[in-house]
């Protein structure tokens, strides 16, 4: 769909360039014709002055032709102006599509990487890479919810020691509320934000459908990252879904692997 749009924009752009080029050639031609007629008229006027009578009918005809050509020229100039405006619109649209295409590619690669492994540690590493490289966060924590104790605990951190992050009760404070409600939290003013582990500048629930399994808490952005772009919000939404699924699957896989090896151990013991 995206590519079709791009192709359409390309072909329309080419068409307009052709029209523009033809218009320019035609204008040149008209200007030459205009010049030729003006010269002819001048000659006729000269010959009139020099006593040779110019045929009035021919003079009138030439004047009319000049008027027609002038009008035609004006129409073409208007058309060129219109085409130029349209061309500018298409160029702007092309840039927009290019940006969207890049953003979609980022999102695609992020989700592709998230589901490329069933290793829990690797999944956490990939989430960390996405947050640093695509979102531009410097300090953050990935916290998972322990459903038995209803507590959120950091399982991975970047830029902060994991031991520095306290655990949070479900429903309590900003982090607990985000985990309970499943709604994103963004600090009202990033410029004046000061690090507070219980009140991150951004807190995103990691959820599978409506089931929250943890949160992502961002405490600091890279110094060159001043604000969030539209694609960042899309990435947050993507993370909320795909990261949660990837974390959940990898945990499930490790659990089943562990159980399988325990059962295998028992079987080996019994069959010896």
């Amino acid at each position: 769909m995206q590519k079709d749009d791009e192709r359409l924009v390309h072909s329309r752009g080419e068409e307009f360039l052709q029209v523009f080029k033809k218009g320019a050639e035609f204008t040149q031609e008209l200007l030459r014709e205009n010049e030729r007629l003006r010269f002819r008229l001048l000659e006729l006027e000269k010959s009139q002055v020099s006593g040779e009578p110019a045929p009035a009918a021919e003079l009138k005809k030439l004047n009319e032709r000049i008027a027609d050509l002038e009008q035609e020229k004006q129409e073409i100039l208007d058309r060129i102006k219109h085409v130029e405006e349209e061309n500018q619109d298409f160029a702007a649209r092309y840039l927009e599509i290019e940006d969207e295409n890049n953003n979609l590619a980022n999102l695609y690669i992020a989700s592709y990487q998230l589901h490329s492994t069933l290793d829990f540690k690797e999944v956490l590493q990939i989430i960390t890479e996405i947050i640093i490289n695509l979102i531009g966060a410097e300090e953050f924590a990935i916290m998972l919810l322990d459903e038995k104790s209803d507590e959120l605990q950091a399982v991975s951190t970047e830029g902060i020691e994991r031991s520095e992050i306290p655990s949070f009760r479900l429903g309590k404070g900003i982090i607990g509320s985000v985990a309970q409600s499943g709604e994103n939290h963004f600090a009202s003013d990033f410029d004046s934000y000061e690090r507070d582990f219980s009140a991150p500048m951004v807190c995103i629930p990691l959820k599978i459908k409506e089931h929250v399994i943890g949160v992502l808490a961002i405490y600091k952005l890279l110094m060159q990252k001043k604000e969030f772009a539209a694609v960042d919000y899309e990435l947050f939404t993507l993370l909320a879904g795909h990261a949660a699924t990837a974390i959940f699957s990898s945990r499930l896989y490790s659990d089943s692997e562990r159980k399988l090896s325990t059962i295998q151990g028992f079987i080996d013991l019994l069959t010896k």
């Binding site: 690669i109 990487q113 695509l134």
Partner: protein, 125 residues
Amino acid sequence: MSDYNVLIVEDSPTMRQLIAFALKRIRGVRIVEANDGVDGLKKLSSERFDLILTDINMPIMDGLKLVSLVRNDANYKTIPIVVITTEGAQEDRERALALGANDYITKPIQPTKILDVAKNLLRIV
């Protein structure tokens, strides 16, 4: 036969994929990936490259060491190098450029920026 051989030196597969995606817009580009500076040097010795893009923070050998080694090797010293990093401070930028990097791009990744810088260094109009 490719028109441009580009080496991406980056320890994160996600990042390598993102950079490669941006560069694939260049017609005739061929991309070779390396996990760190040492791997990068190994790949450099095996074929001719027109451009190197490297991260700074990598295990085994970091990007700045790689820039320095490439610039001091008569065989590779003319290859343009772009540093892509999270380090946004001016002194980090100046350090990389002083070591011989041709350009310096800060993360988060912007494919358009990578493409523009690469095209410029590959002298593609």
